[in-house]
Structures are given as structure tokens and as C-alpha cells.
């Protein structure tokens, strides 16, 4: 039964982590939204043509640069990135949990999942 208790501890930590990620990211998105709509709410949207990488939303460096200039769109994008990072943070916490339980098999499995996601960063650039 001791294992079960340890499991439940991790579950509570993970639950709080996920909630915090959602709250923090949506707060940042709301702040960005107000600035964005204030700055360009009267302009006309155009999403018919796919711009792909012709803008500055696809790299962390560009996003942070935009945030430092108080660009509403880049602040929203920062919030979106934190949201994407939330499940990844969850995996890191799970690894800590499995280390505490000394469950070697699941330490390996969880690391494997983490590597696949981190590997997708490399694939994303090369694709």
C-alpha cells in the first residue's frame, strides 16, 4: 500500500501543476489580447493565405524580442508557449515521482517520452 500513497502524492502535485500552467498562460494571453486589440483591433484580419515562417511567431527568440517591445501578439504567443510547455513540465515532475518510488522501469519510460518530445524540436527545424 505504501506505493499507492506515493502515487497519490505525485498525482496531487501534477494536478496543481497543470492548473497553475493553465491559469498563468491564460492570464498572459488575456494581457496580450488587451494590448493586441488596442493596437490593431480596427485592422482587417487575413488568414486565407498561409504565411508559414514569413512572420516572427515561430521562434522563441523572436517572441521574446516582441514581448520586450510590448507587442500584443508576441505576448499572446508567450502565453501559448507556456501552455504548450505545461504537459512537458508534467513529465519532468513524473520523473521525480518515479525516482522517489525507485521505479527504475518507469524512470526509463518517462525519460523516453521526454526525449521524444524534445527530439521533436530538432525534427521541427529539419522537417
Amino acid at each position: 500500500m505504501r506505493k499507492k500513497f506515493a502515487d497519490q502524492d505525485i498525482e496531487i502535485i501534477i494536478g496543481n501543476l497543470l492548473r497553475a500552467g493553465v491559469i498563468i498562460s491564460s492570464s498572459i494571453i488575456i494581457i496580450g489580447a488587451i494590448i493586441y486589440l488596442w493596437q490593431s483591433g480596427h485592422q482587417h484580419p487575413d488568414y486565407r493565405k498561409f504565411e508559414g515562417m514569413n512572420n516572427t511567431f515561430y521562434s522563441l527568440a523572436y517572441v521574446m524580442n516582441g514581448v520586450s517591445k510590448f507587442s500584443g501578439e508576441h505576448i499572446i504567443q508567450l502565453g501559448v508557449l507556456i501552455l504548450i510547455a505545461t504537459p512537458v513540465a508534467r513529465i519532468v515532475f513524473s520523473i521525480i515521482g518515479f525516482i522517489k518510488e525507485k521505479d527504475n522501469l518507469y524512470i526509463i519510460i518517462t525519460f523516453l517520452v521526454l526525449f521524444i518530445i524534445l527530439g521533436s524540436i530538432v525534427f521541427g527545424i529539419k522537417a
Binding site: A33, F57, Y58, S94, G124
Partner: protein
């Protein structure tokens, strides 16, 4: 149409999508993509990128409440995430190269299958038989608390079949920007014979991680646009939160049928537009 008005329309539509998604268990992503492409003429690649972000938001929001109830089987989820994340990475890379009308057609077909799956009666298996050798090795059997406080123990079967089905669910998630929760539940319910409560919560738990794997690729390819993600993410979160507060399961039966029909119509239009090269 100004950006202010455009944002407001998407925001309201997304609240509805989140609400219906949480009441019917189909998730918000299945309505977001048709809404953006068919109604507002948004390029399907932007729609996919936006949808995957909405999927992460709703999954994380719901999972934070689920994990505390003790139904989620974290080991089972983590083990199957190997399959879903590998599939998602492959699917997202395929999405970069696949023609957009082919994606629209596949999306329409998956939409129809998901709608049917959502109407099917859900059997709840509780296996007390001996676990298979693989299930024992990976410690997949577990237990959950019953209302009266007793622990119900269950075992897991057909690990290889479940794993393969999960890889497929991952590929579709990466290719189409959806959570493919219906397929995940199918793999766990019908193949692995996991109790229904466990499969639903564990599947939801896995969706966020799977979506994050493909979202990283979408982000780097410019699929994720802040002007679209902002109203969709906030709207879907609000809708899903409201949905979790309003109704109980028994009252949603007729709603499920209405929603399934709406989804089939949207799917037909996506397939038609794909076939006629309008998307």
C-alpha cells in the same frame, strides 16, 4: 470585418465548442477546425495549429481535476505515451508535406468515425483475471476507489494491440491537430479492457502530452498564430469549464445525438471541399 469583430466571433464560437465538447466527451478540437476553415475561410494549417493549442488547454484544465479523483492510471498513461508521442511527431512531420485538401478529407472521415464512437454504448470492463505477461512486466494493472471507499482492482489485456492503436491515434493527432480522445478510449476500452472511468481520465491525461509533441513542430513551422489562438484558447477553456459545472451525464443523451449529426454535416462539407480542391 475588423480584427475586433473577427476575434469576438471566434471567441463566442469557441465557448460553444468547449461547452459541447465537454458535455459530449468529443473535445473542442473537432469543431474548431471546421469553424475556422468553413465559416471564416482560415487556411487549414492555421486552423490545425490553433486547434492543437486548444486541445492542450482543455486537456490540462480537465486533467488537473481528474488526477485528484484517483481514477487516472499514471503508469498506463506514461507507457502508452511512448506510442502516442512517437505517432504525433510522425503525423506532424507528415502534415508539413501532405497537400491541404488530403488533410481535409482525412479530417472529415475521422470526424464521422469519432461521432459514431461517441454514440456507442460504453461497456465497462473490470478484469480480475490474470494479467498478461507484458501487462505484469510494465505494472499496468491498478485499482481505483469505489464510492463506498473500497478499492476495485483491475488487470489489463492485449498490451501490444493497445500500443499499436495508440500509435495510430498519435499519428492522427499530429496530422490533424486533434486530441483523438475517442480513439484513445477505444484502444483502452475495447482492446485493453480497462474500466471505463479509468480509460476516460487516463486518455484525457495523455492528450496534453501527445498534443505538446506535435505543437512543438507546428510552432516552428508557423502554424500557431496568436491572433487565432487567443480567442480560441480562452473561449474553449471558458466553455469547457462551464460544461463541467452545468449538466450530469444522463441529461446529455439527446444532446449527443444532435452534436453527432452536426459533426457529420461538418465532416461532409470538409470532405466535399477537399475533393473539389477548395481547401
Amino acid at each position: 470585418m475588423t480584427i475586433l469583430f473577427f476575434t469576438l466571433i471566434i471567441f463566442l464560437g469557441s465557448i460553444l465548442a468547449g461547452l459541447l465538447g465537454s458535455l459530449t466527451g468529443l473535445g473542442g478540437g473537432v469543431v474548431i477546425i471546421p469553424m475556422l476553415t468553413l465559416m471564416l475561410g482560415v487556411d487549414i494549417r492555421y486552423a490545425i495549429g490553433t486547434s492543437i493549442v486548444a486541445v492542450i488547454a482543455t486537456s490540462s484544465g480537465a486533467a488537473s481535476a481528474y488526477v485528484k479523483e484517483g481514477f487516472t492510471n499514471i503508469r498506463l498513461g506514461m507507457f502508452l505515451e511512448i506510442a502516442t508521442t512517437l505517432g504525433a511527431v510522425g503525423g506532424a512531420i507528415a502534415a508539413v508535406y501532405a497537400p491541404t485538401n488530403a488533410i481535409a478529407i482525412i479530417f472529415g472521415c475521422i470526424l464521422i468515425i469519432s461521432a459514431f464512437l461517441s454514440l456507442k454504448k460504453k461497456p465497462s470492463y473490470i478484469q480480475h483475471t490474470e494479467s498478461s505477461r507484458l501487462a505484469k512486466f510494465f505494472k499496468l494493472g491498478s485499482s481505483f476507489p469505489e464510492k463506498n471507499g473500497t478499492e476495485v482492482f483491475y488487470t489489463v489485456r492485449h498490451v501490444t494491440g493497445g500500443f499499436l492503436m495508440m500509435s495510430f491515434a498519435g499519428i492522427l493527432s499530429g496530422l490533424l491537430g486533434i486530441g483523438s480522445g475517442a480513439l484513445k478510449v477505444l484502444a483502452m476500452d475495447n482492446i485493453m479492457r480497462v474500466p471505463f472511468k479509468v480509460s476516460t481520465t487516463t486518455s484525457n491525461f495523455m492528450i496534453g502530452v501527445t498534443a505538446a509533441a506535435s505543437a512543438v513542430i507546428y510552432f516552428q513551422r508557423g502554424y500557431i498564430d496568436p491572433g487565432l489562438c487567443m480567442p480560441v484558447t480562452l473561449g474553449v477553456l471558458l466553455g469547457a469549464f462551464a460544461g463541467s459545472k452545468i449538466l450530469t451525464k444522463s441529461e446529455t443523451k439527446s444532446l449527443r445525438y444532435v452534436f453527432a449529426i452536426v459533426i457529420c454535416l461538418l465532416a461532409a462539407e470538409m470532405i466535399y471541399n477537399g475533393l473539389t480542391n477548395r481547401i
